[in-house]
């Protein structure tokens, strides 16, 4: 059992029409204490009807106990939600960083760079006034990008407690491809928390 990214603060703004900026900070508790991830993204809406957006983002994730980090640059084409569906497809270049500079988001070499595909397809299949449920798969989010051997899927939802306060929960796991048709399930991730939107 591992705890990670237990507290986060994020901002999503649209300074001008068709331009979206997002940023986030996430912190670990109990294990690899302290800063867990930093993310910054910019999106340009190319076709408003289906909210087709070209998004570029950088992520820095780190594990302080292991003196290890990973810097990533993501380029994705995202659409939706339309009729509850949202989708995304893109690429990520990932650069693991070890040793003294593990905390630095500015290191973009080190001998272990890789790139892989990103994908997302989720369906908000129930949406009521105070709550919603969504299911689907997504190989990336604001702070992380999965390896190509993982096929993550998840169910998440939220319930509006009061005003701007929302109770959110998520359960997810991944199918891990081993070879041929043999696969196994990855660890189960359970998230629950309270969010406040300003």
């Amino acid at each position: 059992m591992e705890s990670k990214l237990l507290a986060s603060a994020q901002a999503d703004v649209e300074p001008v029409s068709y331009l979206k900026l997002d940023a986030g900070l996430s912190f670990n508790l109990f294990q690899n204490n302290g800063l867990g991830a930093v993310a910054l993204g910019v999106g340009a809406v190319a076709y408003d009807r289906i909210k087709l957006t070209l998004r570029l983002a950088v992520q820095h994730q780190q594990w302080t106990d292991w003196q290890a980090g990973e810097n990533r640059v993501l380029a994705t084409l995202e659409a939706g939600p339309v009729y509850g569906l949202d989708a995304g497809l893109g690429l990520v270049q990932r650069v693991p960083v070890f040793g003294d500079k593990y905390w630095s988001p500015l290191v973009w070499s080190g001998g272990a760079e890789e790139w892989n595909l990103l994908y997302r397809l989720r369906w908000k299949f129930i949406e009521r006034e105070n709550w919603w449920l969504r299911a689907g798969f997504s190989s990336y989010d604001r702070y992380t990008a999965h390896n190509p051997q993982q096929f993550p899927f998840e169910v998440d939802g939220a319930y509006r407690l009061k005003g701007n306060v929302e109770l959110a929960a998520r359960a997810g796991t991944a199918i891990v491809g081993l070879s041929g048709l043999l696969m196994s399930f990855h660890e189960v991730e359970l998230n629950a928390g309270v969010g406040y939107a300003f």
């Binding site: 980090g69 990973e70 693991p96 890789e114 390896n147 993982q150 891990v176 048709l181 990855h186």
Partner: protein, 280 residues
Amino acid sequence: MHSRRIALLGSAVLLALCACEWNLWGTVVRPTVEDRVRESLSGALPAPDSVAVNPDSFCFAVFGDPQIGHDFQTSLARFKEEAAERGMDFFCVLGDLTNDATPEECDSIKAQLDRVGIPYYATIGNHDLYQADGWERFKQDYGPSCYAVAVADRIKLVFLDTADGTIGLTQFDWFESELQDTLLTRIVLTHFPVFDGERPVMWRLASGAERVKVQSLLERYGAYAWCAGHIHGWRHMQVGSVNHFTCGSMAPGTLDYGNPGYLLFRFAHGSLSWQFVELD
């Protein structure tokens, strides 16, 4: 028309599944890496003995994936000649000993490995778990799935169970304790690679966090190398101070890249060297 296509596709998938010799249900209900590691570290399965070698000069080979199939073909007869010519003291096989882990394949690979005529160590691969009794059969033939062996008080071979593409918390704790033995040159031998080039292949350790933790531990304790199979080919990467080898394969048929071969380690004059040897 549309439903007919779906029916045809479904039939093709069903036929493909029926044609293979895997026990698909068995692969779902099999013991997990955590189960295998706990059993391996419980003391119920004694670790293989250390090989007696000349402490000043010895050599050994490492390769992956003989993956013997229903035709029982491997390159091990050719490897036996190599072992004799080069005076190898022992060799290590990095999992996927069989293709489908059927009793016939298990019997045949055990006989072929024994026939090489020198001591050897084995790790378990995902293909060795393609039958419900895959783990039972592996431990009966080769012993624990994770263990460590010191050779001539010079090097320590740390064998890990990554047959599920993951390491797990129990094995990580044990792995770190084994790496702390800094008096010996430590080489990790297992089935899955951590790093293997820039391309987005699926065949590395699955968890990003596990991968960075592995590399962090290898660096922190000054390990010499991570030797893996799974990908049928040869590759060497240097990440920080650690060598990452995809060690070559004895698998029949076309490899993922390169030709069949093995990684040869030689200890002499107080230092360790390596070379990849291609089989003709």
